[in-house]
C-alpha cells in the first residue's frame, strides 16, 4: 500500500489550556484531531488533521444502534529535557487491528496510524503537560457511520484520534485500592468480545461498577463468564498476584484484554529474574493463599494508573487484606521502572519509547 500523506488544516484560534493542577482525566481536549474515512470500494482515505470539532452524523448511523466500534488508549509524556515521547505506540496500533478483526471493521494501515499519532502529538505538543506525573492521553477510535438500520457490518467508518491532557493519577503517591470480586454480572466470555477493545464490553460493565462503588470499592474484579471461578481482570486493568514468592497473572484466554502494560510488566519481571507464570488463577486459590499467608502482593496494570496496588479484595463476605494494605515491593519497583522509562528518567533497555519530533513531519 502506498503511504498516504496527511492533510493538515491548522486551527487559528488556539484554545486556552487548563492549568496543570486543574487537569481532570478525559474532560479537556486539544486544538486538533485526526480524522480518516472509510468507504466500501474506496478503502481508508483522506487522512486529515483538522481543528477539534463536533461530528455531524446521521441519527441512523450504525454506531448509535449496533455498537460496531473499537478504540485504543495510550499516552505521550514530557521528559525532563522537554522532549515528548510515546510509550510502545506500535502495540496500540496492532491491538486496534486485532479489535477491528473481531468487530468486522476493515484493518487500518498501521504505519499510517502511527504516523497520524506522531503528527497529531507534534502539532499539539504544547498540550503535553510537564508537571510530575501528568501526560497527554491519546484516544484513537473507529466508529461505523453508515446510515442503515440493518444488522450487518457497516460500509462506512471514521477513524478518529482525539487527545486530552491528564493530571497525575497518584496525587499523593502510589496508593492501594480496594477491589470487590463480582459474582453476578459478567464482563466477557470465551467466544465473545472480551479480548477486543470495543464499547460493548465497557457498557456491560457499568452496572457492576456502580454497585461496587456504592459498597465503597473502587473497581470490580471480574471472574470468567463460564464457571465464575477464575480471575479475569479488574475494571480497566490486568491483574497480578504474588503467591509464595512467584508472580502469577491470568493467561490470555480469549476473554481478557491483552494489556500493553501487562506485557511490559511481564518483560520486566523476566528481565529481573523474578518468577512469573501466566496461568489460570481461581478466586478460591487466592482465598486459600490469603488464609495461609502466602498471598503476598496484588496489583493491577493499565495505561491510566500504570500500576495500581490492591490493598484489599472483597469476596463473598471475606475481606482479604493484602500486604497490610500497603504497596508491595514488586508493585513499587515495576511502577518506578515503567514511569521512569516513560518520563525519560531511566534507561530504556527494551526500546519502548518513541520520540515525537516537534512539527518534523507536519506538511501544510
Amino acid at each position: 500500500m502506498e503511504e498516504q500523506s496527511i492533510r493538515v488544516e491548522e486551527r487559528q484560534d488556539k484554545k486556552e489550556k487548563p492549568k496543570s493542577e486543574d487537569l481532570i482525566f478525559g474532560r479537556n481536549f486539544t486544538d486538533h484531531m485526526f480524522v480518516m474515512d472509510y468507504t466500501e470500494g474506496l478503502g481508508w482515505h483522506n487522512p486529515s488533521i483538522i481543528p477539534y470539532q463536533n461530528l455531524s452524523i446521521s441519527p441512523a448511523s450504525m454506531i448509535f444502534h449496533y455498537g460496531q466500534s473499537v478504540f485504543e488508549g495510550l499516552k505521550a509524556f514530557r521528559t525532563e529535557n522537554g522532549d515528548v515521547q510515546l510509550f510502545r505506540p506500535e502495540k496500540n496500533v496492532q491491538r486496534l487491528n486485532q479489535s477491528n478483526d473481531r468487530l468486522v471493521i476493515p484493518p487500518i494501515d498501521e504505519n499510517l496510524a502511527l504516523e497520524a499519532i506522531k503528527q497529531l502529538v507534534a502539532m499539539d505538543s504544547d498540550w503535553v503537560p510537564s508537571t510530575e506525573g501528568t501526560s497527554l492521553y491519546i484516544r484513537p477510535f473507529i466508529i461505523s457511520t453508515e446510515p442503515y438500520l440493518g444488522v450487518a457490518p457497516s460500509h462506512y467508518y471514521k477513524f478518529i484520534i482525539i487527545m486530552s491532557p491528564v493530571g497525575s493519577y497518584y496525587k499523593e503517591g502510589i496508593n492501594p485500592v480496594k477491589i470487590a470480586v463480582e459474582n453476578q454480572y459478567v464482563r466477557a466470555v470465551k467466544g465473545g468480545t472480551g479480548e477486543a477493545k470495543t464499547g460493548g464490553n465497557y457498557a456491560s460493565s457499568l452496572k457492576a461498577q456502580e454497585l461496587c462503588e456504592k459498597e465503597g470499592y473502587s473497581q470490580v474484579l471480574w471472574l470468567d463468564g463460564v464457571e465464575k471461578k477464575y480471575i479475569e481482570e479488574v475494571g480497566s486493568m490486568n491483574v497480578f498476584f504474588k503467591i509464595n514468592g512467584e508472580v502469577v497473572t491470568p493467561a490470555l484466554n480469549g476473554s481478557i484484554l491483552p494489556g500493553i502494560t501487562r506485557d511490559s510488566v511481564i518483560q520486566l519481571l523476566k528481565h529481573w529474574d523474578i518468577p512469573l507464570v501466566e496461568r489460570r488463577v481461581s478466586i478460591k486459590e487466592l482465598y486459600e493463599a490469603h488464609q495461609n499467608g502466602t498471598l503476598e502482593e496484588a496489583f493491577g496494570s493499565g495505561t491510566a494508573a500504570v500500576i495500581s496496588p490492591i490493598g484489599e479484595l472483597y469476596w463473598e463476605g471475606h475481606h482479604l487484606v493484602i500486604n497490610e494494605g500497603k504497596t508491595g515491593d514488586i508493585s513499587k519497583k515495576v511502577y518506578d521502572t515503567i514511569t521512569g522509562i516513560q518520563y525519560g528518567k531511566m534507561e530504556d533497555p527494551f526500546d519502548w519509547t518513541v520520540k515525537v519530533e516537534k512539527n518534523s513531519k507536519v506538511r501544510q
Copy 2:
C-alpha cells in the same frame, strides 16, 4: 411525574417518498424525528418533534467509546380502510426501560414515550406505505452523549425516534430459511447484557454472522455462552420448535431477548390450546428428535419478519432438513394471525393494536 408536552417544529420542504416497490429496510427515513435530552439534575426534558436531521455531537461523546446505548424496534401498519395502527407499542416502551436499567441509563416516562411514538407517526403518517406487507419501521433509541473519556455512566443522554418505511419481508410469500448453529462465537452469557437491547450484543454477533453467510446460511443459531449446548435465539429472532406435537421455546434465562413477537406467539398458541412449553432445549435434543422423526417444525419470531420458518438447521456436519424444507402449519397459522391483526384484517381479541389518530394530538 407531570406530563411534558411535545414541542413540534414542522419541516417545510417535505422529502420525496420512495415508491412502494423500492422500499428497502432501514435506508430511507421520514420527514421528522423525535428528540428528548437528559441532563443530570434536570432529568429528561425538552421533548420535541423536529425535521429529520444530522446530530452535531462531540467526538468525545461516550457513545463512541463505551457503547452505553439501548434501542427498540416496532412497526406501524396501514389497514385496509386507511387507518394507521401500532402493534403492542407499550411493550417496546417497557422493554426500553428494562434495557435502560441494565445499561445504567435513567428511565424514561413510558407514557410520554408512547405519546411521542404516536405523535411522530401521526405527523408522518403519509409515510406509512399501503402495499401488502409493507409498514413503517419505528426505531426509538437512547445514546450517551457526555463528552468524557472516563468509564462511567454518562450524565447526558439523547432519546431519539426515527422512522423508515419498509417493504414486504416476504416478496414471494413466506419462505423457509437455512440456519447454522454457531459453535465458536458467543452472543451473550448469563450475567451479561443478552436480555437487553443494546448495541454491543449486535456488534459481537457480526463476525459469526459474516462467516455463516459465506457458507450459504442466512442466520446464526446461538447456543448458550456457558455450556455451548442449549439453544438461545436466532440472529434477531426468538426461536420455536415443534417436537412430537408439542411446541417448545427456550425459557427466558437472562441471556435471551424477551421478544414481543415471542410473547404474542405464546399467547396465541395457548389461546388455540396448542401444547407450548418454555424450557431449556439442547441442540442434541433437536438432533435426536430429527433423527427419530419428531422434529416437526421450527421457526423464528421477530418484529422484522414476524415468523421465519426454518427449513434447514446445520450443526457440526449434519444438515437437518425440517418439514421437508417447507413452511409448517403452525408457522403459517401464527404468521397469518399476527399479520392479520397487524393489518386490521382479523379480529384483535388481545387488544394488541393501538390506533394512531392523524394529527390528533399534534400541538403546534
